[in-house]
C-alpha cells in the first residue's frame, strides 16, 4: 500500500533535511529553543514520513522494531547512567558534574546575553542526546506498531 512515485521521491529528498534539522535541535538544546524531546519528535516525524510514503513491508525490511526499541532503551540507560555518575563523584543524583569544570561541555559562562558556545552546560547536552534517542525510538516504534495493526486489518 505504498503511495505514488512523486510522494516517494519527495519523501526521499526531504528525509535528510528533516534528520539534520532534528539533530541540530537536539544538539543545540542548551543554546536555542529546543531540546531532546522536540528534536526526537522531529526525527520521528521523518520516519513517519517514510512510513506514510512506502509500504509496510519495505519499511520493516530496513527499519526493524527491535532496533528502535533498543535505541529507546539505550537512551533511557544513558540518561540514568549520566545522572548516576554524579553519585560516584560525591555529588547528588542528577548533579551537574561537568559544568564549569573546563573539560568537555565545561566552559564557564557568565551571567547575561552572549552569542552562545556549544561547549557549555555540562551534562545537559549528553542528557539531551539521550532523551532525543529515547523519544525518537519511542514515537517511531509506537507508530510502527499502530501501522502493523492497520496492516493486519487490511491484509
Amino acid at each position: 500500500m505504498s503511495m505514488s512515485k512523486i510522494v516517494r521521491a519527495a519523501a526521499c529528498v526531504l528525509l535528510p533535511f528533516i534528520l539534520v534539522f532534528g539533530f541540530y535541535i537536539v544538539m543545540h538544546g542548551h543554546l536555542t529553543p529546543g531540546g531532546g524531546f522536540q528534536g526526537g519528535a522531529v526525527i520521528a516525524t521523518g520516519f513517519v514520513l517514510l512510513m506514510a510514503a512506502f509500504s509496510y513491508d519495505s519499511i520493516t525490511a530496513r527499519l526493524s522494531k527491535s532496533s528502535l526499541t533498543g535505541g529507546e532503551t539505550l537512551g533511557l540507560l544513558l540518561f540514568i547512567v549520566t545522572a548516576a555518575v554524579a553519585l560516584g563523584l560525591g555529588g547528588t543524583f542528577f548533579g551537574n558534574w561537568l559544568a564549569n569544570s573546563g573539560a568537555i561541555f565545561g566552559t564557564p559562562v557568565a551571567f547575561g546575553a552572549n552569542p552562545g558556545n556549544l561547549n557549555t552546560a555540562g551534562v545537559i547536552p549528553i542528557m539531551n542526546l539521550a532523551v532525543g534517542i529515547e523519544v525518537l525510538g519511542g514515537l517511531s516504534v509506537i507508530l510502527l506498531y499502530m501501522l502493523s495493526g492497520v496492516h493486519e486489518e487490511v491484509a
Binding site: L31, P33, N114, P115, L139, M146, G149
Partner: protein, 115 residues
Amino acid sequence: MVLYNLPFIAAGLLMAFGIAAMLLRRNLIKMIMGLSLVEAGVNLLLVSLGYRAGGIAPIFTNAPRDLMVMPTVQAMTLTNIVIGIATTALLLSFVMVIYRRYGSAEADVVRRLRG
C-alpha cells in the same frame, strides 16, 4: 472593558469543552479527542500563568534584554506534552484492539463489563 485575563478564560473554556466532549460523546475516539482538548487547556493555563508583561523567552543566546517570562511552568508544559502523547498513543492502541474485537468503537456496543 479590556479582557486582561483572556488567556485564562480561553483555557477554562477549552477544558470545559473537553470534559463536555468526554461526557456527551459515545464514540471512543471522540472521547480521546476530548481528553486531548483538556490537555491543551491545561498547557495554555500553565504557559499563561508564567507570562510576565514585556518578557522575552528565557534564553540568553543573543537576548535583547533581561526581563524574562517564568521558565518553570514552561518546563512543566514540556512534561505535560510528552505524557499527553504517551497516554493518547496508549488509548488509541486500546481503541484499535477494541474495534478489532467488537467491530465498533461506540461505547454503547462495548458493554461486556456491564454484566
